[in-house]
């Protein structure tokens, strides 16, 4: 069984390095001449210079159905095309591909191609940060002029609100809980939502109520 990596730049290099260390047979296909030269100089891998969407190039690899094909080009359509080529012509069972545009996931999955949704992954990681920034920074400035405040409060273990549903809390008037940051998730609170220790709750209230808010949630 060999592992064939098509396209990409740095990822294939480090991927191959680890695979080779574990004793696997690694093949590269890349149309960048300098990259191919570097791969063959620094790694004990087999390098094919050429366009991976060309069957003539792929034929040089003597692909077997048991081989694993990893697709790392920057275009979904190219990855899809190569995936289908190796499936149809060489009967390859395992194809893993980089997915750039998340909306194409369904098409890949339809043909049993495994996808790594990079855009989704990055989005998932920055979303909590975006929320925080938006709520705390931008809104803070905008609301202040209108007499409102946005606060973020960390709920300690000893707070009386812990393990209670929001609707049971009898939160004072002019105070609304608009969001809860819980570990790496952002929870949109409903009456049924239970507050947990270490939750960071985001509260909107009128300015004069801000000290009341702190007292309410932290004791």
């Amino acid at each position: 069984m060999k592992i064939i990596i098509i396209g990409g730049e740095r990822v294939p290099y480090f991927l191959a390095k680890r695979l080779i260390a574990q004793g696997y047979d690694v093949y590269f296909v890349n149309k960048d001449e300098d990259l191919c030269e570097e791969y063959s100089r620094t790694l004990s891998a087999n390098v094919v210079l050429g366009d991976g969407t060309s069957k003539r190039v792929l034929d040089q690899l003597e692909i077997d159905p048991k081989d694993i094909v990893v697709l790392l080009t920057e275009r979904d359509r190219r990855n899809f095309f190569i995936a289908r080529l190796v499936q149809e012509y060489y009967g390859v069972e395992h194809v893993v591909t980089l997915l750039n545009n998340s909306e194409n996931r369904d098409l890949f999955e339809r043909y049993g191609i495994r996808v790594l949704g990079v855009t989704d992954l990055i989005m998932k990681n920055i979303e909590p940060l975006l929320f925080e920034n938006e709520v705390i920074t931008t809104l803070e400035e905008e609301t202040k002029t209108l007499g409102a405040t946005v606060l973020k409060i960390t709920i300690e273990w000893d707070s009386h609100v812990i393990r209670k549903k929001i609707k049971e809390l009898s939160i004072p008037e002019d105070i609304v809980v608009v969001g809860i940051m819980r570990k790496d998730k952002f929870v949109i609170p409903r009456g049924e939502t239970t507050i947990e220790p270490n939750d960071e709750i985001i509260v909107v209230c009128t300015e004069e109520k801000s000290s009341e808010v702190l007292a309410f949630f932290s004791t």
Binding site: T53, F80, F81, L85, E88, E103, R110
Partner: protein
Amino acid sequence: MKLRPINLKFYVIVVGCGKIGLELAARLSQIGFNVTIIDKKPNSIQLLPEDYGGFIVIGDATERGTMEQAKANKADLLIVTTDDDSTNYFISMVGAKIFGIPSVLALVNNRENVPLFERSEIKVISPINLAVETFERNILEGIDQLVGDIK
């Protein structure tokens, strides 16, 4: 060539406003089909004849939003004519499998890709194959005539 106008409520999407797509979209709309042409370059669209009666969508047809804008789910026929085979294959497959377009025709620029398209149930137009076949037919007809003359 004079085209006989017909009135079919048949909806055709043409992707790619190159030499082939352009001519095709213009003719199909002249015949009386409902036609939408998609191209990502506004410049290419400008080359359409003034009497082109179809719709125009400027956008990348490999993106779902563009296909939705062209109402791909209502299309009876999708014709893909860009100069890149992986693009043509991708758009054809999205059209057939995601939007359920019953009939898909694709231009295949590189002859070696023809089998992949055919195995994926996409009808293929291969300029090289067409040219070779036409030459062959012409030559054979010529020979028939020659043989006939000799007899």
